[in-house]
Symmetry: none
Subunit: 207 residues, 4 copies
DNA sequence: TATGAATGAGCTTTCATTCAT
DNA sequence: GATGAATGAAAGCTCATTCAT
């Protein structure tokens, strides 16, 4: 699924995929280290293992790399989540599992996610909504599970509450990575997960 | 309270204060609009109302401006909070009031806070801990109130739980600004505040 | 008549002819539009209907294309003139006809001629004399007719005068295309031709 | 008379004048040698005697240099002509003098004029009409003198004829520089001038 | 103290040319 | 013979920083 939003001069679709993979891998590690603006296109090309000329055969502007990176990270996070979770199969047990899996993914990809959030503002006005849409889709996954639970009768929540709780879960996952400098010295991932789930469920159940 | 971490060639402390005020005010509005990296020092000087040469009489490097901006924003947020809240006076009512006030401040200063978080990574390794320390102090304010409540016997929380809840509150305040693109179309600030407080207290009380 | 001044890797002479025809046709229309320097080799290849790799099978450098184009335009202009004019058959009537035909050719090929003159300076030191030689041959055509007229006794001109008048005629033909922005809004081609011929002959006859 | 059509970052008008003078002088000699496209901005800066950064304090784009150069050349040619010629004082003697002076100027500035004509096509669509307007003003000078002569009764010419003859004179001046490779080996400037004047007047007088 | 002209390292991007397939 | 992916030198341009006035 070559991303057609970014123009490539090269025609061979398979090659585009390969080269962009190299590019993204290289770029992510550079962006982690120094951010988008402090990273030069030459460094990206070098990290990707090809020349600056080749880089520009696969993108049009430097910003395209950022877009590709954001796109990729989202897709990976979503893919990892979809592997483990069926959003339509709702039960408290399932919700716990979903949260736990989500936190694990966010732990493993914390560098990437951090990069994405810190740099996304550098995307053009065109690209940003596209990325935000993907983010909403992830929040909706938690909403779905919560909806199923409500339908099951396991919990009682208004639409308003359900939406907010989904966002809270989503943000708590990011929080583990963003505030790692303090949280990860206080808790293990497991402790963090358990405490957050406990807080959440106590709120919900007592309704 | 001239910030001594940033070197100035000019000696007159009062003048330093004045010029830096102008500089920060100009810079914040520019950073909001285009981010730190896309803002030039010339633009900062112009927005501040003086020449590029004068700018460099009051800072050493462009990055110093970012540092001053971050510093200022933190101080303002803290100051606003301290006006309204006494962290040692703990009661559920007080906690509610503190959260509510904090959310109001974050609503009013959402642009500034957003700027700070998106650009903070561009601070040197030296400046970052200094900024993070200030952040922790704000979290600790909620911790204090919660501690008082525990001491009062109004609620029961382990240290671990108390710390996490403080962070949750803190992050939920930021979340209002960071995720405004979705949250602020779903809720008024008041609704948001009430729902979050309700979620929080249900979790705590049922213990 | 493959132009041997430009090296080709391909051996088949007929193929060279075909490919270079495609190349020149494409290049002329591109050069008209954006000039030699702003036209890329990729664009030339594309306009010619083959790949960049193939282009370089038939030339050595980009400049070779310009040389081929200039060469071709000259040949076409000359060919068109030779169709209609016999330079050795001199008479005032014949001179008028020759001038008129020449102006018609220059009118029809004004784009090409313009391209050639504006870009010729980009030819290497090697190619330039070759092109200038061809130009002189065209001037000499008018010289020949004038010589015949002198021999006929129809007019009286020194060698010096004859040469200069030939150049004047030649330049007045180019002038129609080069200064089209003003001349073509003042005169039709026919008016222009008649007026120039009249000026010329009045000068000559009164001798 | 700083040219306001080209933006400068520097405010001091006198300095702009000085720096642009240096820039134009350097650029003309480079353009003569290698043309506009083969000349780099760095070379222009160096030839002007300052750094690349300084160059861009006085222009916005490379093309601005070309515009400034064209502008300057026209102004110089015109100035030189206006020194010697009063277009409203018409007589055959005066016309001869005007042509002669014009040819002298074109001889002395042939390099500059050549540069201007070969590169003018690289000007943006905005700048071109501005330059063409200046050119017409020069043609009109000859038109004026011819008009005076007609009014005097010294010669008889229709408007159409007068306009065309003015253009012929103008082009014959350029021709001396453009076709120097052949003309200047055949004639001295004086011979060329005399022959052209003679051709011209024979045509006019015999009417 | 305040100014702003000068600097040049360093950026993104282009494009003529090559060469393995 | 034809292709087009790969290359990297070199271009135009920006901008943080300095320093003479």
């Amino acid at each position: 699924m070559t991303n057609q939003n970014v123009h490539a001069s090269v025609k061979d679709e398979r090659l585009i995929e390969i080269r962009r993979d190299q590019m993204i891998t290289g770029a992510v590690s550079l962006f982690k280290e120094k951010g988008f603006h402090r990273t030069t296109t030459r460094e990206i090309a070098k990290a990707a293992g090809f020349s600056i000329g080749t880089l520009y055969e696969y993108i049009r502007q430097k910003e395209d790399v950022l877009y590709l990176v954001c796109d990729r990270i989202y897709d990976q996070v979503r893919e990892r989540l979809n592997e483990d979770i069926d959003p339509n199969q709702g039960s408290i047990e399932n919700l716990k599992k979903a949260i736990s899996n989500y936190f694990i993914v966010m732990d493993e990809m914390q560098d990437e996610v951090l990069v994405m959030y810190q740099e996304a503002k550098s995307l053009t006005k065109d690209a940003l909504p596209y990325v935000l849409k993907k983010e909403l889709e992830m929040v909706e996954m938690f909403e779905s599970i919560l909806s199923s639970c409500v339908e099951n009768g396991e919990i009682v929540l208004s639409d308003h509450e359900r939406k907010l709780i989904s966002h809270n879960i989503f943000v708590q996952g990011q929080m583990w990575g963003f505030r790692r400098w303090v949280l990860q010295s206080l808790y293990t991932l497991e402790e963090y997960t358990n405490l957050q789930i406990q807080n959440l469920l106590q709120g919900i159940h007592s309704k």
